[in-house]
């Protein structure tokens, strides 16, 4: 799992300039399959994002692991979403709760995206996943 994450994000971490970091993020976003339009409901919207983010967080009951799918209408947020999905997909609720997304983003040099701004969706996306995991645990 962490290997997948490292592989996926290596190019971001190693990008020498912010321009390339963003390019890599946007490329990553392109690899994320688009959600079918029928799934892009208002209920699935993650509130607190300036751009639209649709996200479904479920648990695979047999494996007891997280399954997250999502999409966004912007390239950059979609790329960030892709990172989050890689980070959390397949983890157990315990693992999710112990996984600090902010640290990982910091390592990628993307921490400026994690401010408390309401327009910034990352906080909201991570919270939605964490809430789900906590709910599962209790």
């Amino acid at each position: 799992m962490t290997n997948t994450f490292n592989k996926v994000t290596e190019s971001i971490k190693n990008a020498p300039a912010w321009q390339q970091k963003y390019r890599e993020i946007m490329l990553l976003g392109k690899t994320l399959p688009a959600l079918a339009d029928v799934l892009k409901t208002d209920d699935a919207l993650v509130s607190g994002c300036e751009s639209k983010v649709w996200m479904f967080v479920e648990f695979d009951l047999t494996e007891n692991t997280l399954v997250v799918i999502g999409d966004s209408d912007t390239r950059i947020v979609k790329g960030l979403l892709a990172i989050i999905l890689t980070l959390y997909n397949g983890l157990t609720p315990e693992q999710v709760v112990n996984k600090n997304a902010y640290e990982e983003f910091e390592k990628l040099g993307l921490i400026s995206h994690l401010s408390a701004s309401r327009g910034n969706g990352i906080k909201a996306m991570v919270e939605k996943i964490q809430t789900m995991a906590q709910h599962k645990l209790s």
């Binding site: 912007t74 390239r75 327009g119």
Partner: protein
Amino acid sequence: MPTLKFDINKIRKDFPTLNQTINGCPLIYLDSAATSQKPQSVIDTITEFYTSQNANVHRGRHTLSEQATYSYEQVRDKTARFFNVLSKEIVWTKGATEAINLVANGLKKRLDESHTIIISPLEHHANIVPWQLVSQQTGAKLVSLPLNNNGTLNIQKCCEFIKETKPALLAITQASNTLGNITDLKPLIVAAKEVNSLVLVDGAQGALHLKPDLRELNCDFYVCSSHKMLGPTGLGVLYGQYEELNTLDIYQSGGEMIDKVYLTHSTYRPAPAKFETGTPNISGVLGFGAALDYLNELDHVQIQQYEQELFSYAAQKLVKVDGITIFSNLSDNIGTLCFNFKDEHPYDLATLLDGYGVAVRSGHHCTQPLMTHLGLNGTLRASFSFYNTYKDVDIFIDSLKKCIALLD
């Protein structure tokens, strides 16, 4: 009164915020429609107040309190002169939004199903939602002026619409915060007055760039925000033609606005006092006074001329960028360019532009109905002010091209 010739180099030096780097690049601030930068004199006035003057107003016999009250009321006079109205017609609010809410609330009791309120599809949410609530609460109809597909008003049609509708109130913006388009207010107000309508003008965008003579404009109410006029945050201005102002129902209640308080009832003071309860934003008012002083030192005609030339220069350069669509009217504009690149989401370009130190805004700009009218989800917005330079425009356009290149 205005004595200094417009000198952009001197002006730049007055605005300390402009003199900084963002992500290693010089800041290019193109978000003045959201909030303006502040000249040093405004900052100094606030510092001075808290350092040696700080006291509450209107309540004390001691020197600090008298001084604070005196300075505070002086700014009311200054504001009245700026807009060519009377001091007692100026009410302090916390912002343009609160000022509109105050009027909306104050008119409520007079409205019912037989009345109509007209707004326009150009309005900021602040000049829409309060009227929706009034409409829901009173039964008054809320209707909208006709708007051309390109976001301009056909003034003649609008005048006819007003005269037919005979609204209780016309609430309309002086300039669109999204497009920058200036509303040709005079004929609309004449039409409204012909059918005895009240007129509220949302001057949040217009006050700085257009410096209206409100007596001449002949509207009944006018609202604006200090923070968009070089002044501090947390302060708005409501102008009301005195009779109309004083007949509005009271809004907030508490200390200061009352005459006598018994345990079961109270009597109120005349306007503006009856709309100003609680301890006001004293430092905000004093800072706003310094902002007006700063503006009075400059020649408004020269400011406007410079802003117009800068805007034309920017528009001409932006139009030439491949794939760009501009939604703003390129004449009669306060200096705001609203645009998109192909069908790209504006969020991405705004984020990338920030990497180059260029601050523009993306989104619906609190004008969702206008977005719907234009068939858009959101746009980019670059808004200029007289402290921007031709070099700002050049860097903006260059950076935009680089960002576009990053997209594919």
